[in-house]
Symmetry: C7
Subunit: 236 residues, 7 copies
């Protein structure tokens, strides 16, 4: 995605002027009017329709939480929080198949690092690997992956929180929201976040934010957290 | 498929606004308006026109059953229940050729695991393998497989029931229905399901559900079941 | 082909709504409206224009017979009945080049089995091999084979009769008809078939059915048969 | 080509309904309306515009002859009769480059057989090889060869005469005509052919037939013949 | 190119009925209406716009000559006569890059033959090699070469003169003309050619023919010749 | 990009006359009207929408600075200044994924040189490598990278400043501006630049220029600098 | 490019009749109406918009000179004169990335020759190598290089001057002009050129010609020259 993207919003209004004929939105063009990367924007649109997903970080902890859509009776909700390595976890929004592919890629990279260097991988390296992996899909005539991933972890530099987008763009920060109505979730978090909040408060905040975004009362939420003192990522 | 898919329904209304010209629904686009994966949705439409197929699981057993279309005289009905390994079975809905391809893939993976680890594969691993296998077809310029597969098995974690969709998405639960009019089949099962029902009751329920979905009186139904106590998948 | 296909009829009315522009019927789409596999349906249409071809099986024998179009003077009619192995024969309808390709594939598979296991291949394995072979052509950007094949044989399970369609779908039964006006041929066979008919009666029935389908008086018919007691496929 | 093709006529009226837009006649479709193989039909059209070419066989001999278009002064007529092996010859109609390619393929196959089995190849094997070779061009995104080949030879089964068409279809018979106005040439041959005619009479007949087809008086004709008693193919 | 091509004329009127839309003239079609090879015809059109080029052969010599367009001052005219081996020369008309490619191909083939057989290659083999080389470009999704080549040489069979066209078609004769207005050049040569003319007379004739075709007075002409007695190709 | 590009401006007005239909702006054309490289121009358009980015060089130092878009609260600004080797740094404008890819390419090339020659790479070689790397993406059917890179370094030839554009074009100079409204940034720098300005003055100038381009008051700016005397690139 | 190209003019008026729809100007067509090579013509159009570039040769020297567009302040003009080997230099007009690619190709070829034969390469061989290299890009589905190159050198045959065009066509002469308004530059040179002019006069002439073509007063011009007596190419 472009640097210009309003990073707090996934609400891609793709009014490309393609109203009449959409015949040029095909893959082989790579670029649309104004140098937009059409397929990556399509992938972002798909992410924007995914489950509301949140990451919050303070010096004391990094957590990820994701709205779990109420399934119909007799069906278990999908797993939304994934352990990558003992010190890192991730969640995502977008096409499930694409999210799973990215999660696998992260897990394998983490294991490779352990095998090669006999030490846990730092979170930034993990993020750069995923970024480069996703970027490759934007160059050739294949389908760019429709998944944004939030990665939360703990390494020598402290707690870490990143967001990686379909085109390989990544961001570092203390709070991210992706998926449906993520804007309203974000504005609540920006209002109530404090760097010295407890992890319990942060978990409550993420739930409240998902509640607001989804408009549901007591939505089902999956959460994973790593505390600076323990350094272990745990699913709640 | 997207996370947002109403997982209890295969009734994909693909009103993509392609009424006038369908020229953009071609493969090379990968994505349509709103970031939809067009070919995978087409594959799901094909599944939605397949035989009504059901999976039911309780702690005591996991069963799959599938409507077998009444064939004309002198033709044998198609096999719809497939043994994957001694402890796992599967059924599917969609293009027969694609279902068979997925079944083969499952069988080979189960055998590979036995050869490598000298133990039966757990059902979740089998499901993830099929998911990843189907996902690959969504990235390149090939045809995504038009088959949803229901997998029923028994492993160390107890009885297992999964549904895997064309794009590689999978679900875990106690009851699944796919194929034609699967919604009405599902609503009946949701009404009458009980975790302590007997396998005989479940078999009757699946037949009744298929009856309702197909509108046929005493439809031909294929069934396979694995009981927790025996751990062997058997076709009835 | 889809499970929903009315398996007794090859009369594919492809009213896809492509009347105005056919531009989307191109290959790269793989799927048309409703998740239909366009190219495979085209291949089936070609089969539906092929010679009327019949398979009949009783516990005592399995036979294949095919209408041989009256050639002009000085041209020999085409071979329509093919020996695959000593215990199996086949016939087909569709593009001759595609039929021959499938016949070759069957012959080679049968020989491979003999060389590897030093025993004749069972008919179901042969059928599954052809099914998988034809299915492959539906996934990539190549031309799906336009041939339906009827296979008649004898193995440890008794007499066998199968039909394999362009997309890899296959059926087992006691009577199959493919090609032009195969519906009317089938209805006659369904009327007159009896499991204890003699092979001579069956041969006459197949001729009568072809007569009806083609509207010709005493049409030229090629026939091959395997009797349960001898287990040898012979062309008549 | 399809089985339904009227094998005595090359007069392909390709009224595919493509009058308005021809955009779908492109290669990537493989199939047109009704399951027709468009490119192979185009190749046949090209053959139908080629030189009138004839094959005649009796138990005593097999001959091929081909109209040689009157060239302008100072240009030698093209070679139209090709020796394949000492006992087999061939001729063709269509694009010269494609004919030559098929001739080469036949020659190499004949030589391979001699080297491997130290015996001359039988004509049917040669024909099947060419058929399979030409069929391959109909499956992938390449150009199907626009050449029909008539092969005349002598082997242990006696004199042989075959026609092989662009899609790999082949015919066996006592008389073939391909190329421009081949229908009128054929009707004459059918009228005057007799199984006990002398080779001299057959040569005269073929010349007369070409005369009628081309409307030319004393057209230039190339001829090759193999007599049953000698078994050697000779160009006259 | 087709056998039907009027071999004395390069004046390809490509009235394909593509007046309105030319969208089907694309490469992926290979064939146009009536089985025409569109790209090869395009290549021939390009040849028809090339420099007027001539070949003349008698038993005593074979010569090639080509119009050399008057270049602007300070630019040397392009080389148009190429030595292939000591006994063979060539010239061509069409895209210069394509001509050069064909010339290279001929030179390499001639050298290969010398290295392998320690004898000069016969001209027919050289021609067949170029024919096959050019034919390959008509089968795959690449650009057919836009060059017609005239080859003049001397081998054990005497003097030789051939023309090879873009699709791989070749002709043998005593006089060829290709390129712009080659028809009028040809008619003059046909009028004045005599098998016992001297080489000097032939050179004058070729100049006169080019003069007539180009409408230029004393046009610049490149000439190469091989005499039967010497057997060496020399540029004049 | 073309030589004719007004190198001081990234304000690509792509009025290609494609207003009505944009269907020809697809990739497979490579060239548009007038020989324009369409995809590279699209990539340049994307660069023109990127963050305003600046490079300034005097004999005493070379610096790069880039506007860092104010992120929303709780998100860290993106890294915009990258160390390539101890003596070289870079920045870029365009798609972040593409910038990162180019940065990686530069870093790897610098390391390769150190390993091979045991000396730091000179800046011109680094620039030529990136130029050639980006150029390759313009030849094949892949996506040209949408990133312009400014490289600042110090080698035996003194301080160095280069700009490399998407098509592989590069420029050498004392001041570059790329990205949004880079023209107005450039005109300020041209006005106030002096070869003997101090690095502090240059840093202030670059900030002022970004301020003018972005219209923001005290915009966030990332800066990196290498001084001729130290020869070390440092991020400020 | 075609032989028919008016070699003194780069002013390609591409009135292909593509005014209405440009959809056929895509790459996959290779040929347009009349057998024109569309992409190569597009490449030539790009060259025609490049910097005015000149080559002049007398028996005593060969020089190349190229207009260097006045850059904005603080940007160094691009290098336009390239040393290929000690005895050869080159310049070009068109896309800079493509020019650089050709220059690299020339340099590598020259070095290869030195390593293999331990002698400097003759200029004609160098030119033929570049011609063949550029020609390859016109056959496959890649982008033909948009660069015309003027090569000036000295070898055993004396001073040499060549022009190589995008499709691989090359010319030899005493004066070449390429790029914008090269026609008016050429007419001046043709007027004032004399084979015994001094190199100083030639340099002045080339400057005057560029002045006229560009309409600029005292334009910046890059020049390289090789004198017959020294045999070393030097940039001035």
């Amino acid at each position: 995605m472009s640097e210009e993207r309003d990073t707090g919003s996934n609400n891609n209004n793709s009014n490309f002027g393609f109203s009449g004929t959409t015949s040029n939105k095909g893959y082989m063009s790579y670029y649309g009017p104004g140098g937009r990367m059409l397929l990556v924007e399509s992938a972002l649109e798909a992410v924007g329709r995914g489950s509301t997903t949140i990451g919050i970080k303070t010096p004391a902890f990094a957590l990820t939480s994701s709205y779990i859509k109420p399934t119909r009776p007799l069906m278990e909700p999908s797993e939304k929080i994934f352990a990558i390595d003992s010190h890192v976890g991730a969640t995502g929004s977008g096409y499930i198949g694409d999210i799973l592919q990215s999660i696998d890629e992260l897990r394998i990279e983490a294991q490779k690092h352990r095998l090669t260097f006999e030490s846990p991988i730092d979170v930034a390296s993990l993020v750069k690997h995923l970024s480069s992996y996703l970027h490759t899909y934007t160059i050739y005539a294949v389908r760019p992956q429709a998944a944004s991933i939030i990665i939360a972890g703990m390494d020598q530099m402290g707690t870490q929180l990143y967001q990686v987008d379909p085109g390989g763009t990544y961001f570092r920060g203390s709070a991210f929201t992706i998926g449906q109505f993520s804007d309203s979730a974000l504005s609540l978090i920006q209002q109530e976040y404090s760097a010295d909040m407890s992890s319990e408060q942060a978990i409550q905040l993420s739930k409240k934010a998902i509640e607001r975004a989804t408009g549901e009362d007591k939505p089902l939420v999956g959460t994973g957290i790593v505390h600076a003192e323990e350094g272990k990522f745990k699913k709640l």
